[in-house]
Amino acid sequence: MSDKLLDIRNLTIRFRGKRTVHAINDVSLSMEQGETLALLGESGSGKSVTLKALLGLLPPKRTDIEGSMHVNGTDVLSLSGKALQRYRGGEVSMVFQEPALALDPVYTVGHQIAEAVMRHKGVSKSDAMSVAHDMLERVRIPSARRRLSNYPHELSGGMRQRVMIALALACRPKLLLADEPTTALDATVQIQILLLLRELQKDFGMGVIFVTHDIGVAVEISERVAVMYAGQIVEEGTTREIIRDGRHPYTRGLLAANLHDVARGERLNAIPGAPPALETRPENCSFAPRCPLVEPACRAGLPPMRTPAPRRRVACVRAETPIAAE
């Protein structure tokens, strides 16, 4: 177990408040060292909550967490104080969707990266600055030396996201969490950042969890994909398996909704309805109300987790029968 990069077991997260939200329901997930996994899902599917839980960022007073999370053998849920600080940014770090909000506007980018390096590695200021310089070059920022003394607002969106990546990788984390880091970017910039991340992942040998709602982005970045729906993982497999042989009706619906090769003007096979409100713990298949292939068994209880191949799983009663393309 300890040689696994990530081992999440039966994670259940509930937010208490005026109304209870069952954000994550019995999620198990594991990753080997150096893997890239895309967490694919729509808003409210629980993908961002999973990332926040992994960084220990959920407000403890309003959150009930059950289950276990281990990163490189470290029990994340038991961390607190200094140990949690060391873990965040050292072992695991995160790239956010909006670099403009995640970077501190009053410090230069060089200062921010150097600060993080000094905190985690305990090196001198000048050494930390040279690490910062090196990082900016690795994320392909032109004239990196000069950019060190720039403030975030002086950089364009794509450059800011590169700085964010440099900051996240400065302390050589084993696991990088990326929360829709390219969603706010233009298409031609998005592909640059995706390729950059792919290259850095290989160079640094780190694991990456990449949260996205865009199947195309998941294909570009990751080897493996886990599809989330209503706080559960409904399907997991290699990217190839998911794209070529998606078994869960929701996965197939998402693939169709991407419109990649839909004929123009042809009627879309839209998934009807909207995701459930998650006010109660699911007792049957959460997708059943929207599923075109629903059968009585789906409403009777939670769907079985089928494993058609090693490290491949589908939470659907019909997973055994590959669904013929319409």
Partner: protein, 351 residues
């Protein structure tokens, strides 16, 4: 029930006949001043839309694509007069805005659906009141009845939703409300500015289906603005590509899908994720971010990022003109103009 809708749908009468484009835009220009300093003086101009011309035929859907800062949203707001234009003509069904056509009349003929479904609805107004507002302003009879019929048509049961407030609805439901509100004015042209971009993929498909149905049923013409090429291809008849406030290419969908004549368009298309795990994108088609529209590059605005740029591109802005083999396919690039003086002009350029 759709029969009753068609009866109460009373668009402006067709004045120009079928051959007259529903909307013609000529040389549209909008610069925004950037103020600064102690006295708030204008320090620079954002050239948001600069000399944009195009036309939209009756019943077609024109897709507009481009990256942030390319001026596509400003164009949309200019079309409906939400932002006053600096220069240029807007001709709706053969009648000039400002001459034969008042802004209020134009707004009866052209409606808009915005991206942010929550921000475009007054949080203090019920859904029914929001949908009926426009019809009441335009003095159409029975605004509430109209609102309820349209709510039903866009898939929202009026008995359940009429008295709800925007924050009680999901994003997809709110966008349906926005569509109903636009249709309550019985427009002939609907400008959809990133109208499905903020929706989840599965909900997006529902709304796209709805838009197709409504277009057929009410004989609508759409201008569909989006950054998602797949969506634009699905819904549009023709695609217009903008870069830094200018039109760089306009062509029928199939034509542009087969061949992107402008190097920028080609880059934009290659930047789409591959969707094939065995053939992932290897090389980013462009490096760097789009330049700032405050001080756009001289000549062809794309020359700073273009692989084929030569001297002429830095000095002379290219004109939008039809391709030699397909006059419907317009492009603004010296490569396709044999007389431009570009060393590679007229040659086939490998993608």
């Amino acid at each position: 029930m759709s029969a009753t809708d068609v009866e109460t749908y009373e668009p402006l009468p067709d004045t120009g006949g079928p051959a007259q484009p529903l909307l013609m835009v000529r040389n549209l220009r909008k610069y925004f001043p950037v103020r600064g300093g102690i006295l708030g003086r204008t320090q620079a101009m954002v050239q948001a839309v600069d000399g944009v011309s195009f036309e939209v035929k009756k019943g077609e859907t024109l897709g507009i694509v481009g990256e942030s800062g390319c001026g596509k949203s400003t164009t949309a707001k200019l079309l409906i007069g939400l932002t006053p234009k600096d220069e240029g003509e807007i001709i709706f069904d053969g009648i000039d805005l400002g001459e034969g056509l008042s802004l209020k009349q134009l707004r009866k003929g052209v409606q808009m659906v915005f991206q942010d479904s929550y921000a475009t609805l007054n949080p203090r107004m019920t859904i029914e009141a929001s949908v009926a507002f426009g019809a009441r302003v335009q003095g159409l009879d029975d605004p509430e009845g109209r609102a309820r019929r349209l709510m039903e048509r866009v898939g929202l049961d009026p008995n359940r939703f009429a008295h709800r407030y925007p924050h009680e609805l999901s994003g997809g439901q709110r966008q349906r409300v926005n569509i109903a509100r636009a249709l309550a004015m019985s427009p002939r042209l609907v400008v959809l500015d990133e109208a499905v971009s903020a929706l989840d993929k599965s909900v997006e498909a529902q709304v796209l289906n709805l838009l197709s149905d409504l277009r057929r049923e009410f004989g609508l013409t759409y201008i569909f603005i989006s950054h998602d090429l797949n969506v634009v291809r699905y819904i549009s008849d023709r695609i217009l590509v903008m870069y830094l406030g200018e039109v760089v290419e306009v062509a029928p969908v199939d034509s542009i899908w087969a061949e992107q004549a402008h190097p920028y368009t080609r880059s934009l298309f290659s930047a789409m994720p591959a969707m094939d795990p065995d053939h992932r994108t290897k090389e980013p088609p462009l490096s760097g971010d789009p330049p700032n529209p405050i001080n756009p590059p001289s000549g062809c605005r794309f020359h700073t990022r273009c692989r084929f740029a030569s001297e002429v591109c830095k000095t002379t802005p290219p004109r939008l003109a039809g391709l030699a083999r397909n006059a419907q396919h317009l492009v603004a690039c010296h490569l396709h103009d044999a007389a431009s003086g570009h060393p590679k002009a007229g040659q086939e350029v490998a993608a």
